[in-house]
């Protein structure tokens, strides 16, 4: 359920070099052109969309490494 919204946000804010619909849930987003600076915009859009706040310990490179990881993180924070 979250995956679709996350994919939308990635399309708008991820600044990837491949179209998001060509990526699998497990595809490495950094290999698809995601930069660490772009993760900031991603994070802000996710916080806004899901009304969550990413704590420091969830703000590592790994959190945004794939759509699957992002969805996991969002799930955890929404369930809090």
């Amino acid at each position: 359920m979250y995956a679709d919204k996350v994919r939308d946000i990635l399309t708008q804010h991820g600044r990837l070099s491949s179209p998001v619909d060509q990526l699998q849930d497990t595809s490495d987003l950094y290999n698809a052109g995601l930069t660490s600076l772009a993760t900031v915009g991603l994070m802000l859009a996710l916080e806004d969309q899901f009304n969550i706040e990413f704590p420091d310990n969830m703000l590592s490179r790994k959190t945004f490494a794939s759509i699957e990881f992002i969805v996991d993180a969002v799930q955890k924070l929404v369930d809090k």
């Binding site: 990837l16 070099s17 491949s18 950094y30 290999n31 698809a32 052109g33 995601l34 930069t35 660490s36 600076l37 900031v40 994070m43 802000l44 990413f54 704590p55 420091d56 703000l59 590592s60 490179r61």
Partner: protein, 396 residues
């Protein structure tokens, strides 16, 4: 990256080494500084003297024949050189950044270990081609790509600046991992002089750091695929190139600022001797600038010792976190601003003597070099990066 606990030279040995650095700086570096600056020529005498002291391999671990100095000691050498000639110090500092990339990230390759041994024996000078025509000062983006076939690489890169490129023995360049890779998927490759050509595209006639000869070139290189570092450039940048650069640059800028204040102190002392019972007005200005210089010095000292500790701890997470990147950027922003402030204050103290090119209190080259600090990478670009990253930080 494995935890790196550089032995560092023992205090006494290092102290003796620093004395030697001061000696060659007075005898050789300073003697040619005006010529180098006036003609914007490569300071071959000064670099030659550094080679004689085996300083180009100072950061190479002792098991590969280097001095095995640690980053605190390398920074100190940059500071001392900065007191005598900003261009010599800058060339030395930039070379050290490349050596650090190899030492931190290349020791897993036997080819690169062999290269480092050659660097020690031959005192090879390494230049850097990170910026590129079309990407501006954005180091994390490349247009050119490396093409690897049958164990050999080919690369063509249009670099707007390669400091001392024409005088280096080898050049390390960044590029996309392959022809299909996105702009930010980068690797770093070591190009050897016997297998690259440089076609000049722009010169270097600037206000300061004139001896760095940072002309632009088209670099056409080939070589063994073993010369491509296995670690992604993104990691090399966050763990080594970014912090190391701002530490060694900050240190040499501190050296320039220190020399300027030394000039100011000498000038005030002469004034005071003329009227021993009445302190000259300039002595108050000296007191002010002494405080500002201490701030610059302490800021850098904390950053360098922190970095040495982080290298020894080897915790990857800290290096890739925004907090560390923000602090590193803040170091650069402060150092590049303070150097202009300090040299300007020293100029006011020394007055016309400082303003003359031909007086022993001259601060002209110091001031011209000082203005370069805020532009290499432009502080506004850095400030914007910090502005973005700070959005993710909670309380400090």
């Amino acid at each position: 990256m494995q935890p790196l606990r550089q032995q560092g030279a023992a205090t006494e040995d290092f102290s003796r080494l620093l004395d030697r650095v001061h000696e060659i700086s007075r005898d050789v570096v300073m003697a040619s500084a005006r010529d180098v600056d006036r003609d914007a020529r490569f300071p071959s005498e000064g670099i030659g003297a550094l080679k004689e002291l085996k300083l180009l391999s100072a950061y190479v671990p002792s098991e590969l024949g280097g001095m095995g100095l640690d980053v605190v000691q390398i920074a100190k050498i940059c500071e001392v050189l900065g007191q005598y000639d900003g261009s010599v110090a800058m060339i030395y500092a930039m070379h050290q950044i490349q050596v650090a990339c190899l030492v931190h990230h290349g020791l897993g390759s036997s080819d690169l270990r062999t290269y480092l041994q050659q660097l020690v024996q031959q005192q090879r000078l390494i230049a850097s081609a990170t910026t590129e025509v079309g990407t501006g000062g954005d180091l994390r983006s490349s247009v050119c790509a490396i093409d690897i076939r049958e164990g050999r690489f080919q690369l063509v890169k249009k670099a707007p600046v390669i400091s001392y490129g024409a005088h280096a023995d080898d050049i390390m360049a960044t590029c996309r991992r392959s022809v299909d890779a996105p702009a930010s998927d980068q690797v770093m490759v070591l190009a050897r002089k016997d297998s690259y050509t440089l076609e000049p595209i722009s010169g270097w006639d600037t206000l300061g750091f004139r001896g760095t000869c940072s002309s632009g070139f088209v670099l056409t290189a080939s070589g063994s695929a073993e010369q491509v570092l296995a670690i992604p450039f993104a990691e090399i940048l966050s763990q080594t190139m970014h912090p190391y650069s701002h530490i060694v640059w900050g240190s040499l800028w501190l050296g320039i600022a220190t020399d300027a204040v030394n000039h100011a102190r000498g000038f005030v002392r002469e004034e005071a001797r003329r009227n021993p019972s009445i302190p000259p007005t300039s002595s108050l200005r000296l007191a002010e600038v002494s405080s500002v210089l201490q701030g610059m010095r302490n800021n850098i000292a904390v950053a360098v010792t922190d970095y040495r500790r982080m290298l020894a701890d080897g915790q990857h997470d800290v290096f890739s976190g925004f907090g560390f990147a923000i602090r590193t950027n803040n170091l650069k922003l402060a150092s590049s601003t303070l150097i202009v402030d300090i040299v300007s204050r020293a100029l006011l103290i020394c007055g016309i003597s400082g303003y003359r090119n031909d007086s022993r209190f001259s601060l002209c080259r110091h001031l011209r070099d000082a203005y370069g600090a805020a532009l290499m990478v432009n502080n506004d670009r850095i400030m914007n990066h910090n502005a973005t990253m700070l959005l993710t930080q909670r309380e400090g």
